[in-house]
């Protein structure tokens, strides 16, 4: 295994196929085979490149698959990993699949070798497992009782999860998508398949699945133990059963649960007899975990009354009813009062985001993600992993809802799974990963396909000895220009492939030639213009003084490129209230000059020379200006402000200076002064839940769209900092930032004492961040699909070009694809995202990201390669845009319907037949319901009473350009217990599910969603803890609403503060801390973020929603 590992790194690009052979053997012969792989490596030289990649891949994913094969070769298809997991799970369920075990063993071995995973094979396996397992999660909501019983196992909980998922995978196996599938069939090919040949195998799998699944689990089983350690409990998961149900066989076993699901049928449960009746749901990985809990969770949750008490009963009560009505309630009695909810479903039995995240971390966090293989599903965004670019763009740049795209639009329509990519073209990479190489092709510029204009990339096929190349997107054959000519080696690769980033990497940059510049002129360095509201409100709150003081030093930190000594960016200053004041800060002046423009109706820039200056040259004048601004306006009585003219002015200034740039607007109030873009207060809560609600999200006037359009044309990006005391109509004010790729920051009721840190931190980050200006992004795809819809902060003047006046590392564009033809399973689907932009230093560049996806003819493959987080990102953005045009209720219904359709389609086409009462979820999507529920009850779609119209508009606008990680935590906040883990531990404590039930009143928790940060203090926290954190003797003396923890010299205080700092560092925006005490007024606010619970605004609890969803699915299926 070691070998393998080592090998991979070497040949980054390797073309999968050639190499495979080796693998196949290994895997197949396999099973014994571990040895084989090594040999295969040896072969590298020959096949060379291919290997390495594959190996790595193989290791991660393939292994699982291979694992599968062992059992019933053909059937194995399912994710091997899954198997592994299943195995574990199975063990418990084991009974059913007794046969399996034997097989597994062999299977396991094979995996081990190929995967190799040298180091922590198990770990690796698991990782994969889960994903693949994703296949299906049959969630039988049935009784939780069981879990309860399991509870004892608490410790294992974490582990437990893992396994369950595995189980799921088992189920998933049916559908195992190509990649994995290969393994199963794996006879020989497994390897190759792993890399993407899936196509062939799928069919096979379908048949074999059952067997394979089982087997795999078994195989997995063996390992599991190692992983879980004491995991025997793992068995408890019943995962195995799950898998069975899904596929076919399972039903019988697990079915009992299924029946339970149906609710009405509930009674039948007995069937299971298996320990886990309730869990059966889990069959698909997800539940598994749920059950797992019994063992694993048990502990953590045990705390919760529910579980504890019921442990025993559950089993008997197999019936889990999704159907409220049908709820048989045998269990009811047993259930603790709290759970009286009509459906008694064990919260621990339903898929847990925490578990899924944890599993993925454990499984995939330790190995680098190597991008050489097409269609690989990357680790979750919540997992820390390194990426090695071997021909496909890093998931940091592009994530897809599915890495396996249906070949036909019919299939796509049937599945209803949106095909979307979330693209973050300028994403920041961790220091360990190299940022994209810059390629300079000289005067001829980047090499492109003559027909579709796609840029040279690793997928382009050189032919005729290298004299021509065939475009991988449109198949057009192009001549290779003489200066670019290179011979091909015997594999048909260019000899210089590894020397050229554009032939070997997924992401790289081209230096643009003058043809790519506006007006055929190389751009000037961009400029920053600070535009400061100096009306009464801004002065009164001390904002202006604070800001001016900060700017003095902040100007030294303007973004620089590479090792440049000073930033190329020029700066300018404007203040305004009802009129605008421009400042001439030319270095030769003795004192700054203020130029007032009162003609706000027809804004223009009053000066050219001296407005945009080099900071260092004009430092004295700038400092003098910043000193004076607060003085000049100290006595202002002007309360009215304008807004549109301010942006207009900044834009005109950039136009006059012939550069792109960014405006930093610091604004306090609704612009009611007579001027274009004047707004009136139209806030009306009565509109909520009416057909007119959408108007709250729409801009009041078209002025801002028009303005934004002009800004975009000029490459003028607008960042808006709002400091409102009352309604400012964020929906309208944010139009320009939104369309120009800017950011909006909102500090309601700004007070220097309380908000200074947050504001300054955001400001510093915003000013310092690297930005690309005047950008145009174009996504090209293989013939067959087409980018049809785009979400994010940008403007589009036609249907294909995403125009971004500015684009920073956090801005994300979500792109939806639709079929316009058939895709080819063999060639897969390619995406190429090309971003033309001007760097901070004024260099014009093209950044190219390439990503190859698989294509499938089997729906199961689709479902096995989905990424729920990305799906949620897309769906949230889709919904948040929808509220502009449709009543919110319609939008919510659409979401629910789509989700139901997706799941129903899976159930119908991929899951093994089972009782209608059983909720079966694809492993990859088992979190879809919980996440979707979070989206549905978010402030935008279901506002609480305390949520203002501005807040909603603000959030709506924020989400529009969030990346997957941000939406993930935003919709499902992280809740971290602080005193559970050893104080010396430096890692983040494991999160718990966002539900009040998970809060222990003896503990302290941190909750964060990327925007807010709460410190919740339980009422019976030890005094010592209180003392060492808050420096007060008792709980009652803690100041509620506190936003800063005292700096105390004790381990706990240091740790908590350190944790807070590290959380803040992870997020793009500074999260203001709010200390909330249990049973305090503020707790209401906090509770809003406990998203698994019923919300005050009427949002359903997770359990309720799952029932709801199940009902919907059943309706669709019937």
């Amino acid at each position: 295994m070691n070998v393998n590992q080592s090998a991979p790194p070497v040949p980054p690009f390797g073309q999968p196929q050639p190499v495979y052979p080796g693998y196949h053997q290994s895997s197949y012969g396999g099973q014994p085979g571990p040895a084989a792989p090594p040999t295969s490596y040896g072969t590298y030289n020959g096949p060379g490149p291919g290997y390495q990649q594959t190996p790595p891949l193989g290791m991660s994913r393939a292994p699982p698959s291979t694992g599968a094969p062992p059992t019933s070769t053909a059937q194995a298809p399912c994710g091997q990993a899954a198997y592994g997991q299943l195995g574990q799970g199975d063990i418990q369920n084991g009974p059913s699949s007794s046969t399996v075990p034997t097989q597994r063993l062999p299977g396991s071995q094979p995996f081990g070798s190929p995967l190799a995973p040298a180091v922590s094979q198990p770990a690796a396996l698991q990782h994969y497992g889960p994903p693949p397992t994703s296949a299906q999660v049959t969630a039988q909501l049935a009784g939780m009782q069981i879990s309860g019983a399991m509870a004892p196992a608490p410790p294992s909980a974490g582990l437990g999860y893992g396994p369950p998922t595995l189980l799921a995978s088992a189920s998933g196996s049916f559908s195992n998508s190509g990649p994995y599938g290969s393994y199963p069939q794996g006879q020989a090919p497994p390897v190759s398949q792993a890399q993407g040949h899936p196509g062939v195998q799928p069919p096979q799998r379908s048949a074999p699945p059952l067997a394979s699944n089982f087997t795999s689990p078994t195989s997995g089983g063996p390992r599991m133990p190692s992983m879980t350690g004491s995991l025997p409990p793992g068995q408890g998961f019943g995962a195995p059963p799950m898998s069975q149900p899904n596929h076919v066989s399972s039903p019988p076993q697990a079915l009992p649960p299924g029946t339970q699901m149906t609710g009405p049928q509930g009674p039948p449960p007995p069937m299971h007899s298996l320990q886990q009746p309730g869990y059966q749901l889990q069959q698909n990985g997800s539940f598994g975990p749920g059950r797992g809990p019994q063992p694993n969770y048990g502990t953590p949750y045990s705390g919760a009354p529910t579980f504890g008490s019921q442990p025993g009963p559950p089993q008997p009560l197999p019936p889990k009813r999704l159907d409220p009505d049908a709820i048989p309630s045998p269990q009811l009695n047993e259930l603790p009062p709290q759970q009286k909810t009509r459906h008694r479903i064990d919260p621990d039995a339903i898929p847990s985001p925490i578990q899924v995240i944890e599993d993925d971390r454990n499984n995939r966090g330790s190995e680098p993600f190597v991008t050489g293989v097409r269609g690989q599903v990357p680790p979750l965004v919540t997992t820390n992993f390194l990426v090695k670019d071997q021909g496909n763009a890093s998931p940091r740049y592009i994530r897809c809802t599915s890495y396996n795209i249906p070949c036909t639009s019919d299939m796509a329509k049937q599945a209803q799974v949106p095909l979307a990519a979330v693209i973050k073209p300028l994403a920041k990479l961790p220091p360990e990963e190299a940022s994209p190489y810059v390629v300079d092709h000289g005067e001829s510029g980047p090499l492109r396909c003559n027909r579709c204009k796609a840029y040279m990339c690793p997928f382009m096929q050189f032919i005729e000895g290298g004299r021509r190349f065939q475009c991988c997107f449109c198949s057009c054959v192009n001549d290779v220009p003489p200066q670019y000519f290179q011979h091909l080696d015997h594999t048909g690769r260019r000899v210089d492939a590894y020397d050229r980033p554009e032939l070997s990497l997924g992401s790289y940059e081209f230096l643009a030639t003058v043809d790519y510049c506006k007006n055929n002129k190389f751009p000037s360095p961009p400029a920053f213009i600070f535009m400061i509201d100096v009306s009464y409100n801004a002065i009164r709150t001390g904002l202006v003084r604070l800001l001016c003081e900060e700017l003095k030093s902040l100007l030294d930190y303007l973004p620089r490129e590479g090792g440049a000594e000073e930033s190329a960016i020029h700066v300018g200053f404007v203040t305004y209230n009802k009129v605008l004041h421009f400042y001439n800060v030319k270095s030769s002046l003795a004192q700054p000059q203020m130029m007032v423009v009162s003609d706000v109706a027809d804004m223009f820039v009053p000066l050219l020379d001296g407005f945009l200056v080099n900071v260092n040259e004009s430092r004295a004048v700038i400092t003098s200006l910043l000193d004076q601004i607060p003085e000049i306006f100290a006595d202002t009585r002007e309360t009215e402000t304008v807004f549109a003219p301010v942006i207009q002015a900044g834009m005109e200034a950039l136009k006059a200076a012939e550069c792109a740039g960014k405006l930093f607007l610091f604004h306090t109030s609704l612009p009611i002064a007579e001027a274009p873009g004047k707004l009136k207060n139209r806030d009306d809560r009565k509109l909520i839940n009416t057909d007119k609600e959408k108007t709250l999200f729409q801009p009041q006037t078209g002025v801002y769209q028009t303005l934004a359009k002009e800004c975009v044309a000029q490459g003028c990006c607008v960042d808006l900092f709002l400091f409102p005391n009352q309604y400012v109509d964020v929906a309208t004010l944010s139009v320009v930032p939104q369309l120009t790729g800017g950011s909006v920051y909102k500090y309601a009721c700004f007070q220097v004492e309380n908000d200074q840190e947050r504001f300054l931190s955001d400001l510093r980050r915003d000013v310092q961040k690297i930005v690309g200006f005047d950008a145009v992004m174009r996504v090209r795809t293989s013939t067959g699909i087409r980018a049809v819809d785009f979400f994010g902060a940008f403007y589009m003047s036609n249907t294909t070009d995403v125009e971004l006046a500015g684009l920073d590392a956090n801005k994300t564009v979500t792109v939806e694809f639709k079929h316009d033809d058939r895709l080819n399973e063999e060639s897969g689907a390619l995406l190429q995202c090309a971003l033309l932009y001007t760097s901070c230093a004024g260099q014009r560049r093209l950044r190219i990201h390439n990503l190859a996806l698989n294509c499938c003819t089997q729906l199961a493959d689709l479902y096995r390669n989905c990424e729920t987080d990305t799906l949620i990102n897309y769906m949230a953005k889709f919904a948040y845009r929808g509220v502009l045009n449709s009543p919110v209720k319609t939008v919510r219904d659409t979401l629910i319907t789509q989700c139901a359709q997706i799941l129903a389609c899976y159930r119908k086409n991929c899951a093994s037949p089972s009782s209608a009462g059983q909720l079966i979820l694809p492993e990859c999507m088992k979190l879809l319901p919980v996440y979707l529920n979070c989206v549905l009850k978010s402030d935008v779609l279901q506002p609480g009473a305390e949520v203002t119209t501005d807040d909603r508009a603000y959030v709506r606008q924020l989400v529009t350009s969030m990346d997957v990680a941000e939406t993930n935590v935003f919709f499902y906040p992280r809740l971290l217990p602080l005193t559970k883990s050893p104080i010396e531990s430096t890692t983040e404590p494991p999160a718990v599910r966002a539900s009040e039930e998970r809060l222990s009143n003896g503990d302290i928790y941190l909750l964060e969603n990327g925007l807010n940060l709460f410190l919740w203090v339980g009422a019976s926290v030890q005094q010592g803890v209180v003392q060492s954190l808050f420096n007060v003797p008792s709980f009652s003396q803690i100041t509620t609403g506190l936003s800063v923890l005292p700096i105390l010299d004790n381990p706990l205080s240091k740790k908590v503060r350190g944790l807070i700092d590290s959380l803040r560092a992870q997020r793009a925006r500074y999260m203001k801390l709010t200390v909330v005490k249990q049973e305090d007024k503020l707790e209401m606010l906090f509770k809003n973020f406990l998203v698994e619970d019923k919300s005050l605004s009427g949002g359903e609890s997770y359990v309720d929603f799952l029932c709801h969803m199940h009902k919907e699915i059943r309706q669709l299926l019937s």
Binding site: Q593, M595, S598
Partner: protein, 768 residues
């Protein structure tokens, strides 16, 4: 008689600043019209009177609402009853209480005959500060701008310390500078392409609340100026340092001007803002808007030419061909501004220094209607501009600035007369009254005019109509009277009223034609007719005006000449008329009526000055003065004739606009040979020096500074001289060649001799 009249005329001019075309008035309407030259006068309302200290009280006015004439020496006074009879409307008025002590031996000044012109100081009302608003073009060459900045900085020291001063600069944009801030210089900026209403401008400048210093006068401290809320206009003594620095930092308009383009110059908007600013802050207060511009307005309202250099600015040719795209619109813009300015009592000066035209044609109304100065030069970096500008701030013998503001001139006539109009730097106030004629000459239809700015030489032509009917003879010996009441703001900020009352005898044309002829003031008549001609020329085609002038001249000759019909040789004019045809001859050739060889701007400039100078200066303009210097005797005036150009003479010509020193051929050769440097030829040195000294004297006194040309025989600049002299010798009458008399002029213009011959022929012809 003649002597008498010359003395009389001179006396009147010195005392009252008035010269009438006729000093004996034809007593009937019919006869008056037959006199050809209308009854009119040139009035210099503020003529400097060393011997006239103003009285420190206010005039007494006739109580009849339609009359309101001021008490004057012509009034009949009943000292017993303390009554006086108005000599215009015959209303009997009580003297005010202050006049209780009046008696034959204790008369107030206004009743004494020597006080036919008297000046009162009005003590009431607040004193408004003088205001100077600089409007500065920054689209200048570096040298020019630097020179201008220095001139402006220098001017701060010349302004009265209490005066308010403001600064507007313009180029592509217009900047109104705030002068009251420290640490940072602040200005309001306006787009140069957008016309704004006064209200908008005031809103944008934050002047919406009326800042009326007038209402906050503090009589207790006459020295201190009332509080002024506008930070754009500040007392010189407070901000001269700030403003000096501000001017020092003034940069050329920073907006790039690409090759082949003119800089974008927003003169129209700049002026509009200046007007709006003053209108909002100091209406009806004496204020000067001083526009310094170095080129034509090229954008926005009031643009005169586009910014493409390849399209030249309009010429007379374009105008005749109706090819001046922007002219009408621009003119309209500036006219509107001028009228607004005038109605606020402010004035606009234009200092235009550029080699090419700057749009004076379009902008002329700004100065012409408001009494502002128009100065045209080649560059701000010339002594012509610098000294002219300095001279604006010259002081009179009292130490007062030679400028007055916001004047209202009211004309009252006795019943036989009505006032037909005025020509000069004024606008009509549209005050109808019993003495307003229905016929208009010049700006008519009113008995009151506003003259927003005037100085001691500002002169108006005022035209009257005799309305007495032929069949209602005026008693022998009775006199007609005219009163001019000029209310104005003195440069000391005092309000003053100057009243001039004059009377002339009526004469019956039938029986007293000789007397009337003798009382003809041909100089005044020439200028008055010229003003009419120039006034017409502004709106009529040049040839039409010339024809009209010719016809008037012929009619005059027919009326007053002595001749035998059809015998040109018999034609004679009396001394009182003898020079008149010559004036007309030169007038016809003058740049006031001839546009050939002049740009429209130059024409506007010349006409501007012609319509405001006093009689002497006007005559110089019509017929330049030529002095000859030689070894043959003392300097002597010589005929403005080519025959005066002799090789051994130095000529000094004063055309008002130019002072030309011309060295004859021989003198020039001597000078080149350097004789003046040889001790033995010191007399030659003196000869060379003499005209220079005389020229210096003229230069010192004149406003605006004339262009000073020093040239010699064959020099290119000799054209200034050659174009003015009567071409008695040309290439067409070669017989003159070879004779020792003067230099031939290459022109097709008719000479005075030919002109006179034709005139005689036509005068005696019975056909016309």
């Amino acid at each position: 008689m003649m002597t008498t009249y010359l003395e009389f005329i001179q006396q009147n001019e010195e005392r009252d600043g008035v010269r009438f075309s006729w000093n004996l008035w034809p007593s009937s309407r019919l006869e008056a019209t037959r006199m050809v030259v209308p009854l009119a006068c040139l009035l210099t309302p503020l003529k400097e009177r060393l011997d006239l200290p103003p009285v420190q009280y206010e005039p007494v006015f006739c109580s009849r609402p339609t009359c309101k004439a001021a008490l004057n020496p012509l009034c009949q006074v009943d000292y017993q009853a303390k009554l006086w009879a108005c000599n215009f409307c015959f209303q009997r008025n009580q003297f005010p209480p202050a006049y209780a002590g009046i008696s034959e031996v204790n008369q107030p000044a206004e009743l004494m005959p020597q006080f036919s012109t008297i000046e009162y100081v009005v003590q009431r009302g607040p004193q408004a500060p003088l205001i100077f608003l600089y409007v500065v073009d920054t689209c200048l060459e570096e040298d020019d701008l630097q020179a201008l900045k220095e001139s402006l900085q220098m001017s701060l020291s010349l302004l009265p310390p209490e005066a308010l001063v403001g600064l507007i600069t313009f180029g592509r944009m217009v900047q109104v500078h705030e002068l009251s801030c420290e640490g940072i210089s602040k200005s309001y900026v306006f787009r140069g392409t957008k016309d704004l209403t006064a209200k908008q401008i005031q809103d944008m400048l934050g002047l919406s609340k009326p800042a009326m210093p007038m209402q906050q006068a503090r009589p207790a401290q006459p020295q201190a100026h009332p509080f002024v809320s506008s930070s754009f206009l500040q007392p010189v003594h407070k901000i001269d340092m700030t403003l000096t620095d501000l001017l020092g930092e003034l940069q050329r308009d920073p907006w790039p001007v690409t090759q082949g383009k003119r800089p974008l110059r927003s003169t129209g908007v700049a002026l509009s803002i200046a007007v709006g600013l003053l209108e909002g802050t100091f209406p009806n207060t004496g204020a000067r808007i001083m526009l310094f511009t170095g080129g034509p307005p090229t954008q926005g309202p009031g643009m005169v030419v586009g910014d493409e250099l390849k399209v030249p600015i309009r010429s007379w040719h374009d105008i005749e061909k109706d090819n001046a795209r922007f002219m009408k619109k621009a003119t309209k813009h500036y006219e509107t501004l001028a009228h607004r300015t005038a109605s606020n009592g402010h004035c606009i000066d234009i200092y235009a220094c550029a080699l090419d035209q700057t749009g004076l044609l379009e902008m002329k109304c700004c100065t012409n209607l408001t009494g502002g100065h128009m100065v045209m030069g080649d560059s701000f970096n010339t002594s012509l501009f610098k000294q002219t500008f300095q001279r604006i701030f010259s002081k009179d013998f009292n130490g007062d600035f030679r400028m007055a503001f916001g004047a209202t001139l009211e004309v009252k006539t006795s019943r036989e007369l009505k006032v037909a109009g005025a020509i000069g730097p004024c606008v009509s106030l549209n005050v109808k009254g019993p003495c307003v004629s229905e016929n208009e000459l010049g700006v008519g239809g009113t008995s009151q005019w506003k003259i927003c700015s005037l100085d001691p030489t500002s002169t108006l032509g005022i035209y009257f109509e005799v309305i007495n009917q032929h069949n209602a003879p005026i008693p022998q010996g009775s006199r007609g009277a005219i009163q001019f009441v000029t209310q104005y703001q003195h440069s000391s900020t005092q309000k003053r009223i100057r009243v001039t009352t004059i009377a002339r005898n009526w004469a019956d044309v039938q029986s007293q034609l000789q007397l009337i002829e003798a009382a003809f003031d041909q100089e005044a008549a020439a200028v008055l007719m010229a003003r009419l001609g120039v006034f017409r020329a502004e709106s009529e085609e040049g040839p039409d005006v010339l024809r009209w002038l010719d016809r008037q001249l012929i009619r005059l000759c027919q009326k007053f000449g002595q001749y035998t019909k059809e015998d040109p040789t018999s034609f004679r004019l009396s001394d009182a008329f003898s020079l008149y045809p010559q004036f007309m001859f030169h007038l016809r050739r003058s740049p006031f009526l001839q546009v050939f060889n002049n740009s429209p701007d130059e024409s506007s400039y010349y006409r501007h000055h012609f319509a405001r100078q006093d009689l002497t200066q006007s005559l110089i303009m019509i017929q330049p003065i030529l002095y000859s210097y030689s070894f043959h005797g003392p300097p002597e005036p010589v005929l403005l004739d080519s025959s005066s150009i002799l090789a051994d003479r130095i000529l000094l010509m004063d055309t008002f606009f130019q002072i030309v020193i011309y060295l004859g051929e021989t003198i020039s050769q001597w000078q080149k040979a350097g004789y003046q440097n040889m001790p033995q030829y010191e007399n030659f040195k003196h000869l060379l020096q003499a005209p220079l000294d005389d020229a210096q004297e003229i230069l010192q006194a004149r406003f605006p500074m004339p262009r000073y040309v020093h040239t010699e025989h064959g020099g290119s600049q000799a054209r200034f001289l050659l174009s003015k002299v009567n071409p008695s010798q040309t290439h067409n009458n070669l017989y003159a060649w070879g004779q020792e008399t003067g230099a031939p002029i290459l022109t097709d213009d008719v000479s005075l001799q030919v002109f006179m011959d034709h005139l005689k022929k036509l005068a005696v012809s019975s056909a016309s």
